[in-house]
Symmetry: C2
Subunit: 233 residues, 2 copies
């Protein structure tokens, strides 16, 4: 299951994109931080270490929340069990909303972006990662050869909506949305776009984890940062 992945076993250090995502975060000292899709709690624990004044982690899985609590006993983190599809953060209660690899499970990202925006103070930041839309729109099989070269099969990129995958667990439902649909949803929700990274491994990453070579062929992760402007335009 999920708990066997390097990112689950080793926490943030096991996630090769973490350094890039971390660089998109504002200084967390004294901040109220909400982690949507907190999983085993690695980011919540990081936020506490980074000096956040308040940390709330929300996850659908009671099992993951239980495991997150075991991994950081006594830490000032509040975990809530809730479905992100229907969860509504308290209005204007957070300085930073973070979300790692969760939003591609949501059927309605437009509504989610609005709720995140409402949950932030003016000037507040939304930093998140997701499965890259290119990866989400993969064919079966994903890998083919063109003229002797390993290539990635892109399938119906413009067909948005439900895509069922059989990765790790059978019948996992994810929602494919184009990059531009994600950006548009953030803009419509009132966000200002601050950063976008279609994560790819560096030469050092490739030396440490040769299996990442496929990430050069197609991106698997999309990282974004945006903020709610100080005054509405």
């Amino acid at each position: 299951g999920y708990s066997q992945f390097p990112r689950s076993r080793q926490g943030l250090a096991g996630a090769p994109e973490w350094a890039s995502l971390k660089a998109m975060l504002p200084d967390l000292r004294g901040k109220r931080v909400l982690d949507l899709g907190s999983g085993f709690g690695a980011f919540c624990r990081f936020a506490v270490e980074a000096g956040a004044a308040e940390v709330v982690g929300v996850d659908l899985s009671e099992k993951m929340i239980a495991s997150a609590k075991e991994r950081g006993p006594g830490l000032p983190i509040r975990y809530e069990q809730a479905d992100l599809e229907t969860y509504v953060p308290q209005a204007g209660a957070y300085d930073v909303v973070f979300s790692s690899l969760a939003v591609h499970y949501l059927s309605d990202f437009d509504a989610f972006a609005r709720k995140v925006s409402d949950g932030l103070v003016p000037g507040g930041a939304f930093v998140f990662s997701m499965e890259h839309p290119i990866f989400a729109a993969r064919g079966e099989p994903e890998w083919l050869e063109a003229d002797g070269k390993r290539v990635f099969a892109l399938s119906d990129y413009a067909r948005e909506g439900e895509r069922v995958t059989n990765w790790v667990v059978e019948g996992i439902v994810k929602y494919h949305r184009k990059m531009s649909t994600m950006v548009t949803a953030l803009l419509v929700a009132g966000f200002v776009i601050d950063a976008m990274d279609e994560w790819a491994p560096s030469q050092d990453d490739l030396k440490a984890m040769p299996g990442l070579a496929d990430e050069i062929i197609r991106p698997m992760l999309l990282l974004m940062a945006a903020h709610r402007p100080d005054q509405e335009h």
Copy 2:
């Protein structure tokens, strides 16, 4: 050659993405408009019709500029022959900078974005289309089959830089940049992102031009709008 394409023969009406790109433009009445890569002048003529106060078109090709002048004799459009790679717009001289399908020929988009920003008045808009980075990173052949389904071969998306194609004319040099590299260049140049559209045909487009069906599988065009903020942050 290029002059045989619908978009060249029929002008903007022959470009299926035009309606979407037009929707990203501000009201052009009374505006000073610069078109970078003006080709046969279709957009310059549109800007005049739309009430622009001043229209300047820049293109590398003397032949295209000559043809553009023939197509709109007597119109208040000034054409300049120049290489966009080195062209520097007059500082703060324009309200709107437009560019259609040109920036993927530029080796240095970072510098270009800065020059466009400098050429705009505060509040001024930059609206452009380009070959979509997914299309630019295609394998050879571009089309393959996965499990009986037509798929697009994506090749080394994260490998940016020169890509030589043999489409229409042999040995055309284009520059592949990731979507996130484009967005980052705009942000670094001081732009605020206003819109992004990975253009795909509507059902009506598909009826009128069935050949556009491949655009569902992979995007060929990326449209973006951004503006220079009123005051620097």
